[in-house]
């Protein structure tokens, strides 16, 4: 079952109801809220791990949380739902700023499992003092409810939004040696993760997917990776298609490194999980973009995972010509964001064009224009 995400009045997101599935792309002008939307499940994951206050601190603090169109009494709602379990956080910004209090509910079907008040939390008919632990965390730790909240919990725990790879660091320093099996949000552990996948039979399918995909993306300059360990660092050498030619990753093309990280990000997703890549096209040639999206589709179908791509690229959009319902449009003028493209424009109308051409001519995902003075 897909994750259903409902957001009200959070930063650029005035009203959002979204349940993406498969490989989807988000388009919209700068400032429409694409990155904010992709970050919401990550915010909820951080809330689960560290509490809401720290999760928000990590995003610049509690100031300016509310959408500019929300009045002073407006409530910010963050709501996720999966497999009959729904988790809601309600923040009144003025109260949250002054005392750190917020509302929270965990519901199974129509049954209230837990509720947060100003000073206490009711969970499973027990009252306890309110602390930073979320209701979903309490439910996951409780044997009575742990199994039932697991689908929602595992999806949030596995979710990552990749928006900022530290390429220079990776080139210069490689990855710290670790036992991690999922790419961190800056990609710094990439070689360690790849090596761990290679050395674990159950995970070998992941590294095979990454390597095979890279060979199709870069037929002229990629054949394989060799790993090198020195002290507590793992680095890599690129094996080129011509015989006996390898070179350190330091000298790899930006596009190759970015594609490697994107593929690792997607291959890190657990079965049925979800991952987001912001501005997926950066540094990539159109040839590589096309094959990358094909690779994402293959992996998504095999693992029933969801891959969310925010983009400004007509080339990316052209890969969605046969499935405009997987393209989600965000425009400030819409009451609800995002809207599937096939609801924003007539499907037959769309079928006359390449989607990239329509996007480049500002037919969707475009800013409103000011009247000339």
């Amino acid at each position: 079952m897909p994750l259903r995400l409902t957001v009200r009045n959070y930063r650029a997101l005035r009203r959002t109801d979204w349940a993406p599935q498969g490989v989807c792309t988000l388009v919209g002008p700068n400032g429409a809220g694409k990155s904010t939307l992709l970050d919401v499940p990550q915010l909820l994951r951080h809330t689960l791990e560290h509490g809401l206050m720290r999760a928000l601190d990590h995003r610049g603090g509690v100031a300016n949380l509310a959408n500019f169109d929300t009045g002073p009494s407006g409530v910010i709602d963050l709501h996720v739902e999966r497999n009959n379990i729904s988790w809601t956080i309600g923040i009144k910004s003025s109260e949250f700023r002054s005392g750190g209090s917020y509302a929270e509910e965990l519901i199974e079907g129509r049954r209230l499992l837990g509720q947060r008040g100003v000073t206490s939390v009711q969970f499973n008919k027990t009252s306890m003092p309110a602390d930073e632990r979320s209701l979903l965390r309490l439910a996951a730790d409780n044997p009575d409810t742990a199994a039932r909240v697991q689908p929602l919990l595992s999806l949030l725990q596995g979710y990552r939004c990749y928006a900022d790879y530290h390429l220079a660091h990776i080139r210069e320093n490689g990855s710290p040696l670790s036992s991690e099996k999922a790419l961190d949000v800056h990609g710094r552990n990439v070689f360690s993760v790849l090596r761990n996948w290679r050395d674990t039979r159950a995970d070998r399918v992941r590294i095979n997917f990454v390597m095979e995909s890279l060979r199709t993306l870069f037929p002229d300059n990629f054949s394989d990776l060799d790993f090198e360990t020195a002290g507590t660092t793992v680095a890599a050498r690129v094996v080129a298609p011509r015989p006996d030619t390898t070179y350190p990753i330091t000298f790899a093309a930006n596009g190759l490194l970015v594609a490697l990280l994107h593929l690792c990000a997607v291959a890190s997703v657990p079965e049925g999980g979800m991952v987001a890549l912001d501005e997926v096209e950066n540094a990539l040639h159109p040839f590589a973009i096309k094959r990358l999206i094909e690779a994402f589709r293959t992996w998504s179908a095999q693992t029933k995972s969801t891959v969310l791509l925010a983009t400004h690229s007509p080339v990316v959009l052209d890969q969605f010509r046969d499935c405009p319902e997987q393209v989600y449009v965000m425009e400030p003028s819409q009451k609800t964001n995002p809207v599937p493209l096939n609801q924003f424009r007539d499907p037959e109308y769309l079928s006359h064009f390449s989607l990239g051409d329509l996007y480049a001519h500002l037919e969707f995902g475009a800013p409103g224009e000011p009247e000339p003075s």
């Binding site: 424009r345 007539d346 006359h352």
Partner: protein
């Protein structure tokens, strides 16, 4: 209220043509224009199509005209779709070729698009004949600004034009202003070899006579600023004052008036290429 969709190919027309036409047709609802690329910037030739080629600019424009007419952007079919492009200088002597290319592209799209049924195809063919037109501005939108001195001022002109639009047909634009023509070719950014018949180059000169690329003049003509200001409030009656002048623009006004069932503000002689559909017509007007 009848709904009109414009398809424009220039930045100036995109932002300025709807408000400009709305002043003459207040009973119509003009929706936000669709933008496509112009196909007339180089000299066109009518050559038979060879199979398997990628869509060209004219093909993309034709596809936009078909799709915007039926089913329409949101599935609601507009009452009228009008695509407007410039003739441009390279095609000044061959409006028939420009129109012919567009006609062929529309026919090609109608033949090659994967219609769900023959009935649906015929439905769209019929809808195009009744609700879609193609019009030309000649050689480009700036030509019509010379019909109204105020438009040139809004566009940013710093000196008066010597073109008399009452005597001259602006669609056959020519200037004889010596300081503009005597500058050696390419010595200024507006000093192109074809400038005598180029209304935009002359307007660039009127806005920025110095024409110094190294020290850009703040009054330099910009389509998206001065051009839009000029077009939005353009008094078309200057360019259309003589009944035999501006026949291509007159076709546009005649077509709009007929489709909207209102009086034509500028009756007179229309251009035969954009006003006399024959038995083989693919659009309302060609």
């Amino acid at each position: 209220m009848k709904k009109v969709v414009l398809i424009t190919t220039g930045e100036c027309e995109r932002a300025g043509l709807v408000p400009s036409l709305r002043r003459y047709f207040p009973s119509a609802e003009f929706t936000s224009p669709i933008i496509r690329d112009s196909f007339t910037s180089a000299r066109l030739k009518l050559v038979p199509r060879t199979g398997g080629t990628r869509p060209s600019q004219v093909d993309r424009l034709a596809a936009a005209m078909v799709a915007a007419t039926d089913p329409g952007r949101t599935g609601e079919r507009p009452d009228l779709v009008i695509a407007v492009d410039d003739v441009e200088l390279p095609n000044l002597d061959q409006v028939d070729v420009v129109v012919g290319q567009l006609r062929e592209a529309v026919k090609h799209h109608l033949e090659t698009y994967a219609w769900p049924s023959a009935r649906r195809q015929e439905q769209v063919v019929q809808r195009l004949r009744e609700h879609c037109s193609f019009h030309l501005l000649c050689p480009m939108v700036e030509a019509y600004f010379y019909g109204e001195p105020g438009a040139l001022t809004r566009a940013g002109a710093q000196r008066p034009s010597t073109v008399d639009a009452r005597a001259l047909d602006v669609e056959d634009f020519i200037t004889h202003e010596p300081p503009f023509l005597e500058v050696p070719d390419k010595a200024k950014y507006w000093a192109t070899p074809d400038r005598q018949r180029h209304p935009k180059r002359y307007l660039q000169y009127l806005c920025d006579p110095e024409g110094d690329e190294q020290n850009p003049n703040p009054h330099r003509y910009r389509e998206t600023h001065g051009g839009v200001k000029a077009l939005r409030e353009l008094d078309w009656s200057g360019a259309l004052s003589q009944e035999s002048h501006a026949r291509l623009a007159r076709s546009l006004f005649a077509d709009l008036s007929e489709a909207l069932e209102v009086d034509n503000p500028f009756p007179g002689t229309c251009h035969p290429e954009t006003s006399s559909p024959g038995a083989e017509a693919v659009l309302r007007n060609l």
